[in-house]
């Protein structure tokens, strides 16, 4: 016998701590009292990611979404909703709070709107038919048979789509530039060289919905007059490459790629180029050189690729997420798309939410959503109830955004004015245990490794800033070093050949601006306030030690000694400062000083 209703009680950490357990018990008791236990199943669930409004109770199949439920509400839920079939309106999430600007498609309690990820987690990416059933290749039909190249481009311009690779250049204008440049041959390129630490939106998009990228590139080919496309994807993404190859084979067999597509007379084919994992090849001119078989190094712009790209021919290069938007815009129309987002930035943005956040994963939200909504409502807040310190957007090219800017609606312009950038969409959350010097050093080390070395501001600048940061993290810095970092950073921003160098100082400069005191503590007090920088941290055992020996057993250097049931001691000369003793001690007897 199937149940008529299912009551889902959120059992995530957040809801659990506000007595979701009591709600569950009361619901079971009330259902029993009302004699409906055979009609309704009451289950606890994983985190619903709406923790700020917890505890959450959801009722299926109606999809009633109750927030801030208390144990005493159980009676109404059972007697009104389950027995009489009437929603308990006072517990429903208040719809009015949602701005009327955002599209009606957003279910009132959900923050996410999935355009790019519309098929991810829904279709079988290896089955062309499933893509076709979900309006796949419908936009291509329009582009081939109903619209002129100019009309396609006008639609994109009216939609207000901006490139999702980082800089946010209007996609329609880019296509128009390539369309209007006369040439015997033109190219379409997909930038799938996603390389920011912590970012994997593009990988997931290709893995989950490869045909959307192929369809969009073919549409672009038609619009600008190109017959050849390339997907530049890093070799570290084997599954994405596999799925892309399968999709291309299927599309060719079905006549959706290749000669005379769908009998329209238009030819277009796509080849895959594997990148060896150099971060600089995500920069468009370096990527194009790499496709040509040259060393991946940037060239000065202008000329822009739309005028002179691959082998000197007009080339449209967009990133995966930008491509995935295109079919939806043609299918649903520019007016639908341009209603989503802010004045400055239309549509949605996919973020890879990682770091010290409870629900890490991919989120796609309308532009204009605040960081607080992303981190605390969708992301479920900070892990282990620690304090939020900042969030790094834009990876090694972005900056840190702190508490006071959490309520700023996020779009290209807003992030820039906060001293960060959209970047490709990595979002790394930091808590009170993260040290800004350590984080800046990490990103700068990444840039030192990834600088191609062609221009001196980047090649020398990254190395110099890194060695200054290293000095500071070891307690050997001077206050003048901060000024030096700012000077070098400014020079890099102004004079680097490409954005890798020009944006490399951003994480360091933005953390100096927001957390200068923490840098100063490293320099003048020779202390790392959060105890992350090894050279500045000493582990000590205090009088709370009961002599259980747990730390001594865990210590990889065997440098903790002591009799059973007496206070233990760390041999500072041998200590590796790995922190294992600190993590294992249940009595708070190990201190970082």
């Amino acid at each position: 016998m199937a149940y008529n209703h299912y009551i889902l009680v959120c059992g995530g950490t957040g809801c659990e701590s506000s007595n979701a357990g009591g709600i569950y018990n009361n619901l079971v008791a009330e259902a029993k009292a009302a004699g409906v236990l055979d009609k309704v199943q009451i289950v606890k669930t994983g985190c619903f990611g709406f923790c700020e409004k917890g505890p959450i109770v959801k009722i299926l199949p109606e999809d009633s979404f109750y927030v801030e439920v208390k144990p005493e509400d159980a009676k109404d839920i059972i007697n009104e909703h389950i027995v009489k079939g009437r929603e308990v309106t006072r517990l429903l999430y208040n719809k009015e709070k949602k701005s009327a600007e955002t599209v009606e498609e957003i279910e009132f309690y959900q923050k996410q709107l999935r355009i790019v990820l519309r098929n991810c987690g829904v279709i079988n990416p290896e089955d062309l038919n499933e893509y076709i059933a979900r309006d796949g290749y419908m936009a291509l039909e329009k582009a081939l048979f109903d619209l002129t190249p100019q009309q396609i481009i006008d639609e994109l311009k009216a939609a207000g789509l901006r490139g999702r690779g980082g800089a946010g250049f209007p996609t329609g204008l880019k296509w128009e530039g390539a369309m209007k440049t006369e040439s015997d041959q033109k190219f379409v390129v997909c930038n799938a060289d996603e390389g920011d630490p912590g970012a994997y939106m593009d990988r997931s998009t290709i893995e989950g919905d490869p045909h959307s990228v192929l369809e969009a590139m073919t549409i672009c080919g038609k619009a600008i007059g190109a017959n050849q496309g390339f997907v530049y994807i890093r070799a570290e993404y084997p599954l994405a490459i596999d799925r892309l190859k399968i999709a291309m084979k299927q599309a060719r067999e079905a006549g959706l790629l290749g000669k005379d597509i769908l009998g329209s007379g238009f030819d277009f084919d796509i080849e895959i180029r594997l990148g060896a994992g150099a971060f600089v090849c995500g920069e468009e001119t370096a990527l194009l050189r790499s496709i040509e078989g040259q060393r991946g190094m940037p060239t000065p712009k202008p000329p822009f690729p739309a005028q002179s790209g691959l082998w000197g021919k007009p080339t449209v290069i967009n990133n995966v997420e930008t491509w995935a938007n295109v079919p939806v815009i043609l299918n649903k129309g520019a007016s639908w798309f341009s209603k989503i987002g802010t004045e400055d930035s239309k549509g949605t943005k996919v973020f890879a939410l990682t770091g010290k956040v409870r629900n890490s994963g991919l989120v796609e939200v309308p532009m204009g959503t605040t960081l607080r909504e992303i981190i605390f409502e969708i992301g479920g807040g900070i892990k282990d109830n620690k304090k939020f310190k900042g969030v790094q957007t834009g990876g090694p090219s972005g900056g840190i955004i702190t508490e006071e800017a959490l309520d700023t609606p996020i779009d290209f312009k807003a992030l820039q004015s906060l001293g960060s950038m959209m970047g490709s969409g990595g979002m790394i959350v930091m808590d009170e245990d993260d040290c800004v010097v350590d984080v800046s050093k990490f990103y700068m080390e990444f840039c030192v490794d990834e600088s191609c070395g062609k221009c001196s501001p980047c090649r020398i600048g990254t190395r110099q800033i890194h060695s200054l940061l290293d000095k500071i993290s070891k307690g050997k810095g001077e206050l003048a070093d901060l000024e030096k970092i700012k000077e070098i950073g400014f020079a890099m921003q102004k004079s680097s050949l490409c954005q890798l160098g020009a944006s490399a100082p951003n994480p360091t400069l933005s953390t100096i601006k927001k957390f200068e005191a923490e840098y100063v503590a490293h320099i003048t007090d020779h202390k790392c306030p959060v105890g992350k920088c090894r050279e500045l941290t000493t582990y000590m055992i205090n009088d709370k030690c009961i002599g259980c020996g747990a730390c001594a057993r865990k210590c990889p250097a065997n440098c903790i000694t002591g009799e059973r049931k007496t206070k233990h001691v760390i041999d500072q000369a041998a200590c590796l400062k790995c922190g294992e003793c600190f993590n294992v001690c249940k009595f708070g007897a190990v201190e970082k000083v």
């Binding site: 199937a2 149940y3 299912y6 889902l8 059992g11 199943q41 289950v43 606890k44 669930t45 994983g46 619903f48 959801k58 199949p61 498609e105 957003i106 279910e107 959900q110 996410q112 709107l113 999935r114 519309r118 098929n119 991810c120 987690g121 829904v122 079988n124 990416p125 062309l128 038919n129 499933e130 076709i132 059933a133 979900r134 309006d135 796949g136 419908m138 039909e141 994997y200 990988r203 997931s204 893995e207 989950g208 919905d209 993404y237 599954l239 067999e253 006549g255 959706l256 769908l262 009998g263 329209s264 939806v328 649903k332 409870r358 629900n359 994963g361 991919l362 989120v363 796609e364 969708i378």
Partner: protein, 131 residues
């Protein structure tokens, strides 16, 4: 698949849409959809998929249950994720489904139409194509 004309493509779209609808409303058929993105596979989705195949074979249910794969749903923290679609049940997404949980899903959800405790996740967004 042979090369299609515009008409062929439209016909195919229509047919597949009908098939999918039928699959969703036929009460003899259940679908088990396993998230097989890099995150899912890294978390053990292949073992989960094998466990479903084995369990359904043992219970002689192989003919009534379609096992499908899909990409990343975005809830990487909770991989492997599995969605269960059955005609007279709400669509349910389960997280952290290992072989043990897979067995439990077959025994409880598929056979008894009972939901599992502590595993259900909320769908992150409404489908923009279903309205």
């Amino acid at each position: 698949m042979a090369k299609m004309s515009l008409e062929d493509l439209r016909k195919l779209r229509n047919e597949t849409q009908q098939q999918i609808k039928k699959r969703e409303t036929d009460d003899k058929i259940a679908q088990v959809i396993v998230g097989m993105g890099t995150c899912g596979i890294a978390a053990g989705a292949k073992a989960t998929l094998d466990a479903f195949v084995k369990e359904l074979d043992e219970k002689n249910m192989g003919g009534d249950v379609i096992i499908r794969q899909t990409g990343c749903m975005g809830m990487c923290q909770n991989e492997p994720t599995v969605e269960i679609v059955m005609a007279d049940m709400p669509n349910i997404i389960y997280g952290k489904v290992d072989a043990v949980v897979a067995k439990e899903i077959v025994e409880k959800h598929l056979l008894k139409k009972e939901l599992l405790n502590d595993r259900i996740l909320d769908r992150p967004a409404v489908d923009i194509l279903k309205k």
